[in-house]
């Protein structure tokens, strides 16, 4: 039954609710067998609706089709689609114990009790919750509940696993732990997985590809690296990671700012002169403390500013710098440096500054 997951094709899947709201504009997407695709976006962007259409819990508007491994499953209800689902609210059966929950799908499929018990034991072991087998589900912590929910979904060897914000209800420490667990599972099982989240760190850590959504539309589809380093538009750039945006006059291949000038050695589409915004990530800024009050920016380009806040965050220091651009610039520095508010610093921005059309 199991084996590599199947490939999924969404064709012109749109969703209009009965009250006329358009939750999802027509969407086309191919998901390869065994791939993990993460739908990422703010609430109301249509990511959960897409997941529910793939699951068969919502029907796409007429004309939309959902194809599993070449077979059109659009008319099939969820119980006929051979999928596994994991929900934010765990959605465990409160009237069954942990083993009962994990074995439910097998019972529905009339698997003999002996095989069922073996499979349940296997799943519990895989999720490291063997000792919880006889527990009632309301004695479990959030993390344990979600492990049970994963075991339950995987027990029936589904060919697609759908996860709807499975980590959102957990606290930071548990979220991290379970994220690593889920990643390991998805890699080992080779199952096709669709994962919905509003947390960009989760999306980057888990997704082979990320589908960034905004107001019912796809804003960008790409690997985590593509989405982070080459965002398709300002929305994506701002949603994923922190972004510094500075505006000034462009002249002589440089952008002139209050604290100096920034070399525009990026894409060829940059106008020679005029008002321009560019964007760069905090980690693209190299920060060097200035010793002498009279120090000038580097002639090849660089900015001078004043540290207004320095947060020691463990593996790095987060700096907020004023006076370099019109608004504050955020930069990261290694944790062995020391900065105190009031320090004057020189900023060099790595070549990756992107010209930026305000949306």
């Amino acid at each position: 039954m199991t084996g590599p997951g199947l490939d999924i094709r969404l064709v012109a899947c749109a969703k209009t609710f009965t009250d006329g709201t358009r939750a999802l504009e027509p969407l086309d997407l191919d998901i390869a067998a065994g791939e993990t695709v993460v739908f990422l976006g703010p609430s109301g962007c249509g990511k959960t609706t897409t997941l529910r259409i793939i699951a068969g819990l919502e029907r796409p508007d007429p004309g939309g089709r959902v194809v599993f491994a070449g077979r059109d499953v659009t008319p099939l209800p969820v119980e006929k689609r051979d999928i596994g689902m994991v929900f934010q609210s765990y959605a465990l059966f409160p009237n069954m114990d942990v083993a009962g929950n994990v074995g439910y799908g097998l019972k529905v499929r009339r698997i003999p009790a002996v095989d069922r018990r073996r499979r349940v034991a296997e799943m519990l072991e895989m999720m490291h919750i063997t000792e919880l087998a006889a527990r009632s589900v309301d004695q479990l912590s959030g993390g344990q509940k979600q492990r049970v929910a994963l075991a339950r979904a995987l027990a029936v060897r589904p060919r697609v696993l759908l996860l709807d914000e499975p980590l959102t209800a957990l606290d930071a420490k548990l979220r991290e732990e379970l994220r690593i667990e889920i990643d390991r599972l998805l890699r080992n099982l080779g199952i096709t997985a669709v994962y919905v989240t509003h947390d960009q760190a989760e999306a980057m850590a888990l997704g082979d590809r990320i589908v960034v959504m905004e107001r019912g539309r796809v804003a960008q589809v790409g690997t985590p690296r593509e989405v982070y380093l080459s965002p398709a538009n300002p929305f994506v750039a701002r949603f994923i990671g922190t972004l510094n945006v500075v505006s000034g006059e462009a002249a002589d291949g440089h952008l002139h700012l209050p604290g100096g000038r920034l070399a525009l050695n990026g894409a060829g589409s940059i106008p020679a002169s005029g008002r321009l915004s560019v964007a760069f990530r905090p980690e693209a800024v190299a920060v060097i403390p200035l010793i002498n009050p009279g120090d000038q920016p580097h002639p090849d380009g660089g900015l001078i500013g004043t540290v207004t806040a320095a947060f020691f965050l463990g593996d790095h220091i987060r700096l907020v710098i004023d006076g370099a651009g019109e608004s504050a610039i955020v930069a990261l520095a290694p944790n062995h440096h020391r900065f105190t508010p009031g320090d004057r610093v020189h900023l060099a921005v790595d070549g990756g500054a992107m010209p930026f059309a305000e949306g």
Partner: protein, 273 residues
Amino acid sequence: MDRRDTPFLILLALPAVIVFSAFFLLPLARLVMVVGEGRDGLATYAVVLTHPRYLESLVATMVLSAGVTAVTLALCGVVGVFLTRNRFFGQRLVVAMLTLPLSFPGVVVGFMIIMLAGRQGLIGDLTQALTGNRLVFAYSMAGLFVAYVYFSIPRVILTVMAAAEKLDRRVEEAARSLGASTWRVTRDVIIPGLAPALVSSGAICFATAMGAFGTAFTLATRIDVLPMVIYTEFTLNANIAVAASLSIVLGIITWVALAIARSLAGTTVSAAA
């Protein structure tokens, strides 16, 4: 909890608790004493439980109450879930209508049943026109049954609807994603989810039916339900010891029903009471 904010409450509440206890225990103690003081003493309990008239009335009342509870739960379970899950024109009106009997005391309900299924009743007129025979069931157990179902429905249905609204739809979706049919989802998820509400409102329904008097009294004095027997023994026959022991038996049965429900359904019985 910190001790600091309680002295105020203790001062306020302690006398009340003492008065309450007296107020609640005295009548009960008196009831038990009356039995002991009667002609047969504590043997009155044996008489009550063996004498055919009393025993029959006890059994009849319990069967009636259990039947009313079963029918009410079945009807309200289906209709309550339906009304929670579907939005349709006039829905609020239907809900308002279903809860109307809450506003009428048992006497009035009995009165309605007579007008509906009594000698001059609507159902009688209808059946005579259709079959030539007049169907009259108001003055029997059947009339009482209909009346009890009628006034039990509002309480039960409102509780079921409140519970149905709180059911997590995601749990049903999870069951379906695992391959469960609609029927299995109903059996494995919806019914267990409603169980506490059904058990607790069923217990209240049973207790109310066991003790209802106004309706029975209005319909006829011939119906031997337990509260009627107690009333008759006490007021008309002045057989106080028997009345008291019957009351205690009735109290124990009801108390057991409520206690079982409470242990099955947690605290919700209290809230639904």
